[in-house]
Subunit: 339 residues, 2 copies
Amino acid sequence: MPPKRPTIARIARDLGVSTATVSRALSGRGYVRDEVVTRIRARARELNYPLRDETVGSRVLLVASHAALLDLQRSQYTLHVLEGLRGRAGELGIEVEVLGYGHPAEIARLPETYGGVEGGLIGIILMTVDDDTIALARSLPCAVVLLNDDDPLMTIDSVAPCNRSAAALAASHLKALGHSRIVFLTRPGRRTIARRLEGVRDELGPALGPDRILEVDDWTSDAARIRIRRALGDDPGFTAVIAAADILAAGAIVGIQETGRTVPGDISVIGIDGLPQGEFLSPALTTIVIPMRRIGEEALTLIQQTARRRLFAEPAIPRKIELGCALVERASTGPVRTG
Amino acid sequence: MPPKRPTIARIARDLGVSTATVSRALSGRGYVRDEVVTRIRARARELNYPLRDETVGSRVLLVASHAALLDLQRSQYTLHVLEGLRGRAGELGIEVEVLGYGHPAEIARLPETYGGVEGGLIGIILMTVDDDTIALARSLPCAVVLLNDDDPLMTIDSVAPCNRSAAALAASHLKALGHSRIVFLTRPGRRTIARRLEGVRDELGPALGPDRILEVDDWTSDAARIRIRRALGDDPGFTAVIAAADILAAGAIVGIQETGRTVPGDISVIGIDGLPQGEFLSPALTTIVIPMRRIGEEALTLIQQTARRRLFAEPAIPRKIELGCALVERASTGPVRTG
DNA sequence: CTGAAAGCGCTAACAC
DNA sequence: GTGTTAGCGCTTTCAG
């Protein structure tokens, strides 16, 4: 027999109030004296009463730097993430306010500007922000989750794709096709991208020497095209390219073709992102798809949970959630040319 | 106004069955024809009917290698994780069977041996296993979660402490005390421990040269004691030690004291784990506490969710959950000696 | 702000 | 296996 579940009536009896009051206190709807609310929530926690995430507020604030919102490559990705977040919000009846911001210090004033927890604010989702902002966010008086990023000291919750394993998967795919001389085409800078490099390293080990890392300084296909052509000028010395993002993969394909070589006949190319338009490249891009919509949805779920934990004064243990990515094999990768 | 929630009556009406049948189908209790169950669950998913995790089964199998179960250092840690898992299981009325196993290949037969999903098996939790076992676990016909480990290709769910940030936190603490010449005392081998090295690197950068990584070949305080004494023989060249585990920190403290130096007067020592006995060392150990009980609890929550997703044929996106760790400052670390 | 009581959604017992 | 029905737990309404 399963242990009998705690009921709202039990809590009411223990505390000498009506079941209606307990119901109001736990759901956050209707008026209950603060002191009574506190006692009821404490008792609920003791009895392990199952608490609904839905009752912690009705609005979330999504904050992204203006740079991130305008950035072409990332806004593609960002759009899909936002779509997932908005979709889930619609289902749950939660309002999402999107806010671009310029200066990190503005973060501190956000909760009160937007009504605070008392005003129905569930919390703040920070998307693709810089480390200064993360540091400031640590002391915010509401739930905070990082989206598409993480906190190196793990004091803030976060949701992101597992960039490391995404890249490892790309490398693993090429290895399975017989490739061993593989270059990694990337735009260094962000921590998320550094994780992709680590993933490639996990699979390739010392085979990925410094000369096998091709860097560009912008997230454009043209930068990638030019960089690849330069690398191909000399004896290429590689048979496959892992691009840190689909947009770079697109440029790499063009660059390779411009030198009279074929993809994947001479050189295989794989991307990471899984943007829909990869399908329409020639050849169609093999890539690692990031579950972008899911990441947006998960951010909302996580911030609700975190807000609930705050509300019920549970000890806060930050958590990092990473979602797995999957290989979509199309036409831009093939077996290594032998002989 | 929030969108009106779907009800069991709505599903019943849509499908032309009684509410009782829908209730049975969704909860898994009582008899309903398989074909009807499938239709009901599909419709529930479409309507976004909120589904309970509790109804996916009543037993989980926890599997650990004999080695892991016997290993002194890790069984400490393991014991606490298990306690958390058992505690949560008790609350939920779930039975946990613990199984030591020897050979990876045995894994494949486990689900049917233990009754399968039809027999109430929620899934299998794999604790501290090797990569061969992880590879085999990918094709198991039930929910699987890795505990205290992760899948490099992210095809399996996992719950673990964030080893990387735990180590970063240790390094960050020492830096804040003025230390810059810091060694990392470790027993290489497992991936989780490699993550701790990465975390130290994140904070210390090139200051952590190869000569600053002290390796031992066993998880014993005595191995750590001897290794530290050897490092101290020459001009030490460091003012602080980060130990990859509390047990090594304990040995490091003794080793330092045996050479006539003081902790933390001459050299600071910080551990990672947060085992209770650290408090009783002399000096009491400053350490990074891993929320061991919570990790056990979380593994159970995750396997329920995963099992539910399988049951309702939701697209499986594996997730990795890492919990944040916290600094507990006791007496074994102090400001760097100046001059 | 709170309680009494009505109402709704879900489950469990029972009949077939 | 499935529907009917009684009953339980939670929320909502309304009166104070």
